[in-house]
């Protein structure tokens, strides 16, 4: 315990509550209130309604939820496979090469997502790589943006994995593929689940690149929210935001339960 005195601890809790309340809870509370607001001209809404939720459900909300979920799942799955592959491959490389490639893999996370979207739009708008106007370019954009995080998570897991496990497995006669399937991947499972969860959450909230490349008919939740608020329909945008938060939270809590179970075992 860093702070021993009771008054000191009370001060620390007050500071924490203030920061957490202002920075995290207040914006979410405002969005929640907006999604339920009938009219909002004063400090608080003048009345509450669920009409905005009905509107978005009857409108394009479910298509947007589906587009976001499919994009998130596919992009995260591909990022997980490639990130794991990259992390495993880099582990057996020369230390300098591994460091250089490791930095390169992180570059997409340092580029603004709008720039990534623009880059993809330019790169894939001409044959033979004509992806502009397809769902695939949305997947590619999300993959590019989240793959660095899956790579980072899996690399961290591998770094914590004692080489003894794999070496003992090899000495017992396990070939590399058998060893990977029965030893390395099961031991990495908590990190793989965490990497997938993080990638999925990032994908669900991705707007900058998606708004540059999305084709008609594949409007994700963030793009829908952006469109609604851009048109001035703030309350509907807030309702859709709450749908996005709920869907993402449910999925992450599910993944957390899986990870927790694995950690306990």
């Amino acid at each position: 315990m860093l702070v021993w005195s009771r008054p000191g601890r009370i001060v620390i809790w007050l500071v924490f509550t203030l920061l957490f309340g202002v920075l995290f809870l207040a914006p979410l509370a405002v969005i929640l209130l907006s999604s339920l607001a009938d009219q909002w001209n004063g400090v608080l809404p003048s009345g509450l309604t669920t009409e905005h939720y009905s509107d978005v459900v009857q409108g394009a909300a479910w298509k947007a939820v589906k587009a976001s979920l499919v994009t998130g799942f596919l992009a995260s799955a591909v990022a997980l496979v490639s990130g794991t592959w990259a992390a495993l491959a880099l582990r057996i490389q020369d230390a300098t090469l591994a460091r250089v490639l490791g930095v390169l893999f992180f570059i997409p996370s340092a580029v603004p997502s709008v720039s990534v979207g623009l880059g993809l739009l330019v790169a894939f708008s001409h044959p033979p790589l004509l992806l502009n106007g397809t769902i695939a370019i949305v997947m590619v954009a999300h993959f590019v943006l989240i793959s660095a995080f899956t790579f980072g998570n899996v690399s961290a897991g591998l770094a914590r994995l004692s080489p003894d496990f794999e070496q003992v497995a090899s000495s017992l006669g396990a070939r590399p593929a058998y060893r990977l399937r029965h030893v390395t991947l099961p031991l990495l499972a908590p990190y793989l689940v965490a990497a997938f969860g993080l990638s999925f959450a990032l994908s669900m909230g991705e707007l900058g690149a998606t708004v540059m490349v999305y084709p008609p008919g594949w409007v994700t939740l963030p793009v829908s929210i952006f469109s609604l608020t851009d048109r001035g329909d703030v309350f509907a945008g807030a309702a859709l935001t709450m749908v996005l938060v709920a869907v993402t939270l449910i999925l992450l809590l599910g993944l957390e339960r899986v990870t927790g179970r694995q950690a306990r075992s």
């Binding site: 003992v168 006669g173 396990a174 070939r175």
Partner: protein, 382 residues
């Protein structure tokens, strides 16, 4: 649940006999290992006979683990060849070498039950189900862990995990068992028991060749048929355990393998008589000890173990030196005395002391037999 000891001879008739396989010899032929320009193992030529336990012992960074890892296939030699039996395994991947390996932290797969851990190697090699079942049963019985098959590693103590790790290595009927500091993670009491149990296991499986890497001289002395003492990436000495202990070929071996008093002496007479004792002078005293071809006039070291020095003489203890008592440390079973003889500190470990102990600073005669004494060349590197 209490843990039975390793099955030993009583169960060996039932289980260990099934596990007993023909061990192979291991041959290092000028094997060297280097990381860039840094040589961690200088050309090493060494044989481990079938069924032999060779302990590689030495301080950290002496190259002992590197030598074991080269046999396992985790380190590629910069030069030389390694043969296991008739097979040159130098270029074979680890999974084709037919070994069993036990490491310091056990490395039991935490997501598998004990029985699945033990079955791992056989499954990886595609053994049929009936054989796997039989081998798992036999191997667990051999290490006294039959009742723990359904447990997960996290539900076992350190000693139990180590037994399972040994069972897992034995289940694949290895040509050679590699033990890399296998008891280092255990506390002292359990470690002592495990050393005895591994010794018993090898008596039950006499055909099993074992390369045992440790920094613990007690483990090496208890278990090994032969010992290779490593220093700075080279073998400082290699030979039968008892011989290395009784007649250490150099100062490093004498000091690393057990405690040794090394007194600088001058040889006055080379080896004579049926026992080949030489005579050497220390101050005024003339002392006899096992010789290594020393000639009169040679400056050398006289090695005598602390427990071989006695405060009382008899007709066998014909060697006599006099020292000044400096310190007395009582440690229950033993009392350690530190004396100074001709400027050199001499340690005595005594189980029984005279009723009246001499006072500090007084002159105390020490007696020892020529048979417990040897002449050791000064710091010759192997």
């Amino acid at each position: 649940m209490s843990v039975p000891a390793f099955t030993g001879s009583n169960v060996m008739d039932v289980d260990a006999a099934k596990i007993r396989g023909a061990g192979s010899n291991v041959h290092f032929d000028k094997v060297s290992v280097a990381y860039g320009a840094h040589v961690v193992l200088h050309p090493l030529t060494l044989d481990i006979a079938p069924g032999e336990i060779l302990a590689m012992i030495g301080p950290s960074g002496s190259g002992k683990t590197t030598a074991l890892r080269a046999v396992a296939g985790f380190v590629r030699p910069a030069s030389g060849r390694i043969r296991i039996g008739a097979t040159d395994v130098t270029d074979l991947p680890p999974y084709e070498r037919g070994l069993g390996m036990v490491v310091q932290n056990y490395a039991l797969f935490p997501h598998m039950r004990v029985e699945d851990n033990v079955a791992f190697g056989l499954r990886a090699q595609g053994a049929d189900k009936a054989l796997i079942g039989e081998r798992v049963k036999d191997s667990l019985a051999t290490v006294g862990m039959s009742g723990f098959a359904k447990r997960y590693p996290r539900e076992l103590s350190g000693g139990q995990q180590q037994r399972v790790a040994i069972a897992r290595a034995l289940a694949v009927r290895p040509r050679v068992l590699l033990l890399d500091e296998p008891l280092s993670a255990l506390d002292a009491q359990i470690r002592r028991n495990m050393v005895e149990e591994i010794a018993k296991l090898h008596r039950d499986l006499p055909g099993l060749t074992i390369l045992y890497v440790t920094h613990d001289q007690t483990e090496a002395l208890t278990l090994a048929d032969k010992i290779a003492i490593m220093r700075d990436g080279r073998v400082s000495s290699h030979g039968p355990t008892v011989e290395l202990y009784r007649l250490p070929p150099n100062r490093f071996t004498a000091e690393f393998l057990g405690r040794a008093n090394l007194l600088p002496v001058t040889v006055t007479e080379g080896a004579t008589g049926p026992k080949g004792f030489a005579t050497a002078r220390l101050g005024d005293a003339l002392l006899a000890g096992a010789a290594r071809g020393e000639k009169p006039g040679d400056k050398t070291l006289l090695c005598i173990r602390p427990q071989h020095l006695s405060l009382t003489g008899d007709e066998e203890h014909t060697n006599r030196i006099v020292g000044t008592l400096k310190e007395v440390h009582w440690q229950g079973e033993l009392t350690h005395l530190v004396l100074e003889v001709d400027g050199t500190p001499v340690r005595v470990s005594a189980t029984r002391l005279p009723v009246s102990l001499p006072e500090r600073g007084s002159a105390v005669p020490l007696f020892f037999t020529p048979g417990d004494t040897s002449l050791v060349p000064e710091d010759v590197r192997g």
